[in-house]
């Protein structure tokens, strides 16, 4: 296990104050904070070797290219991919999923086919498939969920039929924290000849994820949720699947030869990376992977499971508050959504902010789920490597104080 206090010292932002109070950052599902090594990586790039990659014959370009492709190798190893050619840089999870929707799906989904998702998908893994289904006259089907976000495998089995061409499923729900059994779901999907896309935005940063073990065809995730900068994301795809896919964006870098009338495509993965890439942020994501690897992803998972267990226990001491997601902390990520009938999440979130506590409130880009739960919004706390039980104590006290403020009109001391 790692020393959380030591980890906290690596994050400059954690020493800032909010309204003269220590910052308690519990909004990691929205974005994570950055260690000094990632920030330094960006500064070093721009101060020492900023240059465009791949095409230059001068030293700076070669250094930049080495670092950029090294980062790609690091990410490949981090998720257990066999080769770096399976790693396509994108902007974020949303762009990764859209890339699949606009290339692979356009060619492989036909009228009468089915795309299967779950009822707790983030909009980024729902809206693109709605569009594909409408464009191709295919059917979008939903694996139903229990109120804690869990799914029943025998129900899922019956929905993933021979008509299913794609199973697109979130591994860890950003709203409820539920961890889906994606390996078993992928097995079922591939047994009927369907391809499998996993939304790993909330899982890859928080637990060991191995694409070879999961046997998924696509995995999408974002750099900024795993200590990396904003603006860089990853689409992993099996090499043979990627080989068959048409390009997403066209132009420079992704071509081999171009005449006035025609063009041939570059090798993998550059075929899917048109134009000057996000060089600095890809390299910085490599630095983020180094940092997480030094902690060990098994340890990251243990730390968060302990925090979540503690949070669930402490939340039980708050009266008249609904807490969502599985009660078993091993079946969920470090994401806890809660709701009070008396105090709207936005009001509660504001009160917490005035106590230096950052949580998220709203529909969390899961509007259909909120409608299913009968709620306009929830409040959500989400944990990461630098959070502590002491911070959870302050969160719980803060929620109690906030509820008292609105119910009794008196701030608590």
């Amino acid at each position: 296990m790692f020393d959380t206090e030591k980890v906290r010292q690596d994050f400059p932002i954690l020493s800032r104050k909010v309204y003269d109070l220590p910052l308690i950052y519990l909004d990691n599902a929205a974005t994570s904070q950055k260690p000094r090594s990632v920030i330094q990586s960006l500064t070093s790039y721009y101060e020492e070797y900023n240059s465009n990659v791949h095409r230059g014959v001068h030293s700076l370009s070669m250094e930049a290219t080495d670092q950029y492709e090294d980062a790609r190798k690091k990410v490949a190893q981090f998720i257990g991919a066999e080769e770096p050619e399976s790693i396509v840089w994108t902007r974020n999870t949303t762009e990764s999923i859209n890339l699949v929707a606009k290339t692979w799906a356009q060619r492989n989904i036909n009228a009468g086919d089915e795309i299967v998702v779950s009822q707790i998908e983030h909009h980024s893994n729902l809206v693109p498939w709605q569009r594909v289904a409408k464009q191709k006259n295919a059917t979008l089907r939903f694996i139903p969920m229990a109120n804690d976000g869990s799914i029943e495998m025998d129900v899922a089995d019956s929905i993933i039929s021979e008509r299913c061409k794609l199973l697109a499923i979130v591994q860890t729900s950003n709203s409820l924290g539920t961890i889906h059994p994606v390996k078993e779901l992928a097995l079922r999907a591939s047994s009927v000849g369907a391809k499998v896309l996993i939304d790993g935005a909330q899982s890859v940063p928080h637990m060991p994820v191995d694409v070879t073990d999961l046997n998924c065809d696509f995995l999408a995730f974002s750099g900024h949720k795993m200590l990396g900068p904003t603006g860089i994301g990853v689409l992993y795809a099996k090499r043979d699947v990627l080989e068959q896919m048409e390009p997403f964006l066209t132009g420079g870098e992704m071509v081999l030869q171009v005449s006035y009338q025609d063009a041939t495509w570059n090798e993998l993965p550059m075929r899917f990376e048109a134009g000057t890439p996000n060089i600095a942020d890809a390299i910085a994501l490599g630095a983020a992977v180094d940092y997480l690897s030094s902690l060990g992803m098994e340890n990251v998972r243990i730390h968060e499971t302990q925090l979540t267990q503690y949070a669930l226990e402490q939340f039980k001491t708050i009266e008249d508050l609904d807490v969502f997601g599985p009660t078993d902390p091993t079946k969920r990520g470090g994401i806890v959504s809660f709701h009070s009938n008396d105090v709207h999440p936005h009001d509660l979130g504001t009160l917490l902010d005035r106590q230096g506590i950052a949580i998220r409130t709203g529909h969390h880009c899961t509007m259909p789920l909120m409608t299913k739960l009968g709620l306009p919004a929830t409040a959500r706390a989400s944990f990461y490597i630098y959070n502590t039980e002491a911070e959870i104590d302050l969160l719980v006290d803060g929620v109690k104080s906030g509820l008292r403020y609105f119910n009794d009109g008196v701030p608590s001391n």
Partner: protein, 149 residues
């Protein structure tokens, strides 16, 4: 734990209006009916206005769902426009939006706002601007629909 400057945002007038909103009865007859929704947070506002023979607000019904700021805003809007003409409502709406966005107002215009000035704390919480303005944008839509049937 004292909450930093929270009483400026959740002024006691706002808390009172959000806990006991005024003019919430649903009207059976009305000249204006309009709905507003903020899908990002689920705030909802439903406004009905019955005008008298001089086109002044005779009765108003405002029902809101959502956060305290939205609820208070709907209630304070209802209180502010009773007895006002359609033109006066239009002017008040413009003034309130300018006030809440920190535009400079003449002293006379500030006086026209009356109790609505208690919403001043929202100026320092820009993220809650949509909450306070939902009722007013809903009202604007309703008045526009009345002017252009």
């Amino acid at each position: 734990m004292a909450f930093h400057q929270i009483d400026a945002l959740y002024h006691k007038v706002i808390l009172e209006h959000s806990t006991q909103p005024r003019n919430t009865a649903v009207l059976s007859t009305f000249h204006v009916e309009t709905n507003g929704l903020n899908p990002f947070c689920g705030d909802e506002t439903h406004i009905q206005i019955l005008l008298d023979s001089r086109e002044r607000v005779d009765k108003i019904g405002v029902q809101t769902n959502g956060c305290r700021i939205n609820k208070a805003s709907g209630s304070m809007l209802a209180e502010a426009i009773v007895g006002k003409s359609v033109s006066e409502i239009e002017n008040l709406s413009v003034l309130f939006k300018r006030f809440i966005k920190s535009d400079l107002l003449l002293p006379h215009d500030v006086q026209v706002l009356g109790n609505l000035q208690n919403m001043e704390g929202v100026k320092n919480a820009p993220i809650r601007m949509k909450c306070v303005l939902l009722a007013w944008s809903t009202l604007d839509d309703g008045i526009c629909g009345y002017r252009n049937p």
